[in-house]
Structures are given as structure tokens and as C-alpha cells.
Amino acid sequence: MFPAAIETNRLRLERFDHEHVDPFELYEVTTDPENETVWRYVPWEPYETVHDAAEYVDDAVERWEDAEAAEYVVRPRQGAAEAGGFAGVTLLDLDWDRRSGQLAIWLARPFWGRGYSAERATALLALAFDRLDLEVVEVTHNVENDTSRQAIEKYVERFGGRREGVLRNYVAYGDTVSDEVRYTISRDEWRANRPEDLGVELIDDPADGNDERRGGNR
């Protein structure tokens, strides 16, 4: 149901599984002191052990197979600076009952400030609306997280979405309960604002059976 990879102008998102993610690399990036500020406002934290990192990959595989979440490792494409490097993790978390999906991302510190968050948001919005027929995609950030706010405001505005408000005590992660600003983009808003050439390519793995729809034409 989900594409094995998604390419944008500068990024390649690859399915978050054991073939594309090395738990040692995941552990190393998340525990790198350089990335200490990355965890401040997000529901992720560095893994305690390599084993925890490997288990996280297991969980992501399970969520993918159950069609609960499409999770990807973010890497700069060939030809870009630091091509193939581990830039971060992103996902579209599905809530099918609500016909909604929620965007989430963390990026390693060296990859901040390049507009990567918006670029992969466009990729996951294309997945959510053009393929999965969702009605709404939502995204939230902690009220104090200005970095995320700036990135999110920009792409929400670009696609005609709206800021819904500050939701107090909206999410719990770890020991904290977070007040979050929530935004949504609807399918109608997406269709009205989506440029013809989005610069996003959803790439299926034939083994996944995602090309069943095209099978009849062969």
C-alpha cells in the first residue's frame, strides 16, 4: 500500500526497515551529543542501547505491515551534499477511522535549515492524498518549538491548510505533557493548491504488490 521509496528534488525517503536502516547507525546518530537539541520538543529520544534501536526498527516494520504508519529514513539523494547520509526519520501515522494522517519528523542537527522538513512534508502529503485518499493531514508542534513552527507554517500555508489552535495537554511523551499547536490540510485544500509538477515520485517495490492496479494493462 505504501511506496518503498519516495524521491523529491533533493531527498530520497526509504522504507524504514532492516534493509535500509542499520541499528548501529540509528543508535549512533541519536546519541551523538551534536543532536542533543533535536529531542527537546519531540516524542522521540535517543536509544539507550543498540538493542533498543533495533527494536524500534522492528516496531516500524510491524506498523508498516499493519498499514498503521508509513515510516521512512530520510537521506540526501545522489549528487546532493552528504548524499546517502542519515538525515533523520519521518512518518505518516495513519488513523483510518478518522480518515486522517499525522506527519512527524526528526532531523539530525547538521541537516537543519535546508528546507528538508517541507520537502518531505510535500512527499508525504502526496502519499496521503494522491494515493491513500485521506481527507485530512494533521501536524502539531510544541508551543515553544519555534524551529518547527516556522517550517510547518510555511508548508501549511502553501497548501491552503489552517492553524487550528493551541491544544493544551494534548500529548504525553515521557514524563511531560505537551501543549501543541495543531494544523490541518484537507484534501480539497491540497487539490486546490497542489502544483501540477510536484517534484515527488512515489516508487513502488514490485514485490510489494503495489502495482496490482496496473497489472491488468500488461
Partner: protein, 215 residues
């Protein structure tokens, strides 16, 4: 974890269970063929029930969730200072979202008791329970976008306690084969205690927490 019985000036609240009320007695007021019930329950997330089995399952769920500690459901009856002591006034429950240190109150009152300030009376009791006894940080009130009477009621409620209107959440709750938009209101412990003039009663923590500068 929750008090089995709470008395207010005009009401008695007791834990909803098969011991507290007969299934058929309660069902009479919640039945789908009862015009009042349909009107009273129009914007609520449960009932009216087609058969007594629906009412029975609802009571059983209330018993189970009381034991699990994630919902406290009370039967509201008229007290000594209201006509017809013992008569059924309604049902109200407090949902607990422990991880988020938040709670949500849902209320059903029968039409003969509307517009008499009874809601405020027991709502205060449940808020005291939530903020003082259970030590929650936030009370949440949500209603469907189209539930105009409820939205107005919640607006008045948060205004009188200095709470917030958080916003309209799109595609928030699946119901009746569609996905509904929901208005969300919140009231913090500090706001509630301050506006009811009881900040001193609160723990030192709350008293020392400054009002957020902006949000």
C-alpha cells in the same frame, strides 16, 4: 479511587451500577422511542438505546471502567432540597486521561431539570474531584461542530472560569458513518482555582506556578 457518593445542595451523586438503578428504570429515560431522550441525547456521544440491552451494556461498561480507573460515572438523583427526592435527574461521567493529566466531563440531564443551575452545582463537584482529589492539570470539553447549543454552553463555561477555546479540530471523531469536526475547550487547574477564589487551598506547586505569559 473515586468517591462512591457525593452530595451537593440539591443533588445526590452515586456510582452508576446495577445496584444503584434498575436497568429498566434507567432505560425508560434513555429509550430511542422516548422523544425527550432523543432531544436530551442529541449531541452526546452515546444513546439513545433501541432496547434495554443497550442500556444494560452501557451500565456494565460504566462499572468496568470505574474499576479500571479511567471513567467515573455517576447517577444524578434529586436530593432533599429538590422536589421528588430520589427522582432520576441524569447521568454524568468524568473520563480520565492519566498520561495527559487531563479529564473530560460529559453530562446528560433530563429536560424537567434544565435551566435551573443544577449543572453548575454538580459540575463544580466533579471539577473539585478532578483538580483537588485526582490532581489533574486540565479539564477538556469537546463538542461536534454542529452542536451549537453545547458549543454555547461550553463557551459560557470557559469564559466564567477564564479557560480557553483551543480551536476547531478537523476530522477528529468518527460518528454516524462520517468523521466529525470537534470544538475543543480547556480549563486549567490554576484557572479554576483562581476564579473560584480558592487558589490558597491548592498545593504550593499550583500557587507558585505563574500564569503563562502568552499562548
Amino acid at each position: 479511587m473515586f468517591p462512591e457518593r457525593i452530595e451537593t445542595d440539591r443533588l445526590v451523586l452515586e456510582r452508576l451500577s446495577r445496584d444503584a438503578v434498575g436497568i429498566l428504570d434507567l432505560h425508560r429515560h434513555l429509550a430511542a422511542d422516548n422523544d425527550n431522550a432523543r432531544e436530551e441525547l442529541q449531541y452526546l456521544p452515546w444513546g439513545p438505546f433501541e432496547t434495554p440491552m443497550g442500556t444494560r451494556e452501557w451500565i456494565l461498561e460504566a462499572e468496568r471502567r470505574w474499576d479500571d480507573g479511567d471513567r467515573a460515572t455517576y447517577l444524578l438523583r434529586a436530593g432533599e432540597n429538590l422536589e421528588g427526592p430520589g427522582d432520576l435527574v441524569g447521568v454524568s461521567y468524568l473520563d480520565l486521561f492519566w498520561e495527559r493529566r487531563a479529564g473530560e466531563m460529559v453530562v446528560w440531564t433530563r429536560k424537567p431539570y434544565w435551566g435551573r443551575g443544577l449543572l453548575v452545582e454538580f459540575a463544580m463537584e466533579l471539577h473539585d474531584l478532578a483538580f483537588l482529589d485526582l490532581d489533574l492539570e486540565m479539564m477538556i470539553a469537546e463538542c461536534f461542530e454542529e452542536a451549537e447549543p453545547l458549543r454555547e454552553r461550553y463557551e459560557t463555561y470557559v469564559e466564567s472560569f477564564d479557560g480557553h477555546y483551543d480551536g476547531l479540530l478537523r476530522n477528529q471523531v468518527p460518528a454516524d458513518g462520517e468523521v466529525k469536526n470537534v470544538h475543543r475547550f480547556t480549563l486549567s487547574r490554576e484557572e479554576y482555582l483562581r476564579t473560584t477564589g480558592r487558589l490558597d487551598e491548592a498545593s504550593e506547586d499550583a500557587a507558585q506556578t505563574p500564569t503563562p505569559e502568552a499562548d
